[in-house]
Amino acid sequence: MDLLRFDAPPVSPEAEALRQEVRTFLRAELKPGLSRDRSGTLGGFNPEFSRKVGARGWLGMTYPKQYGGHERSMLERYVVLEEMLAAGAPINAHYVADRQSGPLLLRFGNEDQKHEVVPRIARGECYFCIGMSEPDSGSDLASVRTRAVETNGGWRVNGTKIWTSYAERSHYMILFCRSADADPKDRQAGFTQFLVDMKTPGLTINPIRNLAGDTNFNEVLFQDMLLPDSAVIGKAGNAWKQLTSELALERSGPDRFLAGFKLFRTLVGQLGPDPGERARLELGRHAAHMMVLRRMSRSVAAMLQQGQDPALQGAMVKDLGTTLEQSLPDMVRQLAPVEGDPEAEDELAAALADVTQNAPSYSIRGGTREILRSTIARGLGLRQ
């Protein structure tokens, strides 16, 4: 069955040489005490760090040189990314832009958008947020109500987005909204993606505090916000198709099983070289699962490189990966005498509190577990 193909990722000496460079860089950059927000999922939002990564040529790695990219392979990009994640590097500022907004603009954007914005993404200077979810539209994205109406030479937008990660610190949003009346025969018609400058008048950002006390997601209001026609990404009305191509990129990455790696590492460190029989088994199980997930995820990167569409394999990686990561706090609780405390000096107590509180979001953001399983079931031919 094609969806069970996880072919060997190609051996790449360049990528392995690059890996050692990245490690050297990270050892120098990630000094203890580096300021980080407790975003749990990734290592924090740090523009200074993002610009340094950009200066090394490690953002926009797969983009064309013409737009500030480096024309390297998906696998090389993968190596940089997994090393950053494993080291707990603060990649949140540039991560969304590098991973999906840049590729989206390169694929569907107009020349102005590509020339003005993409090179800044590759330099680590320009950050993106994603405006898809709304108060009444989560999994059922086709029900979004934010509406863009054509005016002369542009668009007037009204509506509300919610759960927008890092809206307050991003330069642009990729806005997904309705741009034509609903067509009862085609639920996926009539949507448009816009490139929205976050400074546009009529756009208001209200922070939302999450359960861990952080305010890195937001409500974003649009009140008669005017956008020029040049803000349309791709073709008006074509957004649904454009979106689908983003999803494989979003779902299959190593962030889906390395979000809690810091907790794992800290646990291993605290248990020491001779942690006892039970701990050896549990730690070994967790590591083995990660190793197999990494293999799956690297295969997906290689398939993307070959121009295939491994959306289903990506969904498997995300479902298995997030499920594994959500089991991490339980393993820690069973193996170490530690109580989670977000404010603790003790690294294990702090990391445990961090992952415990953020774990529920792993299987919600980027497509809920149930939606992913339905996607896989569709791939199996069980549903339309």
Partner: protein, 349 residues
């Protein structure tokens, strides 16, 4: 996956579809040797894939396909025996072969007698022992040195046993003379044999899980209850998605072992892969049966030929309890900064 392996896959898949059916399973479970199937495999060069020019990873791929069809023949064991003999410089014999010992802690003794050798001891759970024409035995001399001895089956007493799928798992009792040419020093230890065994069972688990998934998806599309195909129910869809993910993980694990295998195998990769595949076997078989209802509980319906194998293969050559602690020990033995490089095989030289 290159063109050669695709072609091989097609040939093998066709051959297994043509030769493995209910009657073959019934006969094999009754203890009969599926001679026609074996002959067809031999005629196509598939019983000695390394001799036929396939690489070890390609040969592992072949085992995966054979397992998809639950082919009741010792292709894996023959491959392993041939590989051992080739690595020790013993001429590879033809016909079905197997290996011993396969249970940890069992040893067979070898000593020089006259101008030949004498092999003695007992090995249990030997896969396909009764049907193998020869057996590659790992045996120790008094000084503890390991040798490979090529033992003709007829030189051993055999007590029949079986695994859950009634594949032969026999006890060999040996007390026999062997000619000089049948014995050679073995350049690797018991651990390499075990790793090879674990690797081949990993590939087989991946094949059997793929089969269980195919059967489940087909069945869910055909079986109608409450006026619609049960595959339309979200509960069934989500369970089968989970089965697919487990099968996917096993397929990735099979890819890992194929690359990790050599005379100096990457034990960490194989340990992780076999543990993970064994876990997938348990989880996957349970879902497949649940989706099938009672029909899957019959012997007639082909699901059991996959799942009963999964229930044995998950334990043979070590299960989670044996392999995971090996991974755990590697991880625990590193400084925190060294864990990731160790897990990914990317420690700087």
């Amino acid at each position: 996956m290159n063109d050669v392996t695709r072609m091989l896959e097609d040939t093998a898949a066709r051959l297994f579809s043509d030769h493995v059916d209910r009657a073959v399973h019934a006969a094999a479970e009754a203890g009969e040797w599926p001679a026609a199937l074996w002959q067809a495999l031999e005629d196509s060069g598939l019983t000695q894939p390394l001799e036929a020019g396939l690489s070890l990873p390609e040969a592992m791929g072949l085992l995966q396909i054979a397992a998809q069809h639950a082919a009741p023949v010792p292709l894996a064991e023959t491959l392993c025996a041939a590989w051992m003999m080739a690595n020790c410089g013993i001429e590879v014999s033809t016909g079905p072969m197997t290996i011993a010992p396969v249970v940890r802690g069992e040893t067979l003794r070898l000593e020089r007698r006259g101008d030949g050798w004498h092999l003695a001891g007992r090995a249990t759970r030997v896969p396909w022992g009764r049907h193998a024409t020869s057996i590659a035995v790992l045996a120790e001399t008094d000084d503890g040195a390991l040798h490979v001895a090529l033992l003709p089956r007829d030189a051993a007493a055999i007590i029949h046993g079986g695994n859950t799928a009634l594949e032969p798992r026999d006890t060999l009792i040996v007390d026999t003379a062997l000619p000089v040419g049948a014995v050679a020093r073995c350049p690797f230890g018991y651990d390499v044999l075990r790793a090879f065994g674990a690797a081949m069972r990993t590939a087989q688990i991946a094949g059997a899980l793929e089969r269980a998934l195919e059967l489940s998806v087909t069945y869910a599309g055909q079986r109608v209850q409450f006026g619609r195909a049960i595959g339309k129910f979200q509960a069934i869809q989500h369970n089968l998605a989970l089965l697919a993910s487990q099968a996917g993980a096993a397929a990735a694990a099979a890819g890992m072992v194929a690359e990790a295998l050599s005379a100096t195998p990457d034990m960490l990769m194989i340990a992780a892969a076999k543990g993970r595949a064994s876990e997938a076997a348990s989880a996957g078989a349970a879902i497949a049966h649940q989706a099938h209802g009672a029909i899957g509980f019959t012997w007639e319906y082909p699901l059991n030929w996959a799942t009963r194998r999964l229930w044995s293969w998950r334990d043979e050559f070590g299960n989670e309890t044996e392999w995971y602690p090996l991974v755990g020990a590697v991880v625990a033995g590193r400084e925190p900064a060294g864990i990731w490089p160790a897990m990914t095989g990317t420690e700087a030289a």
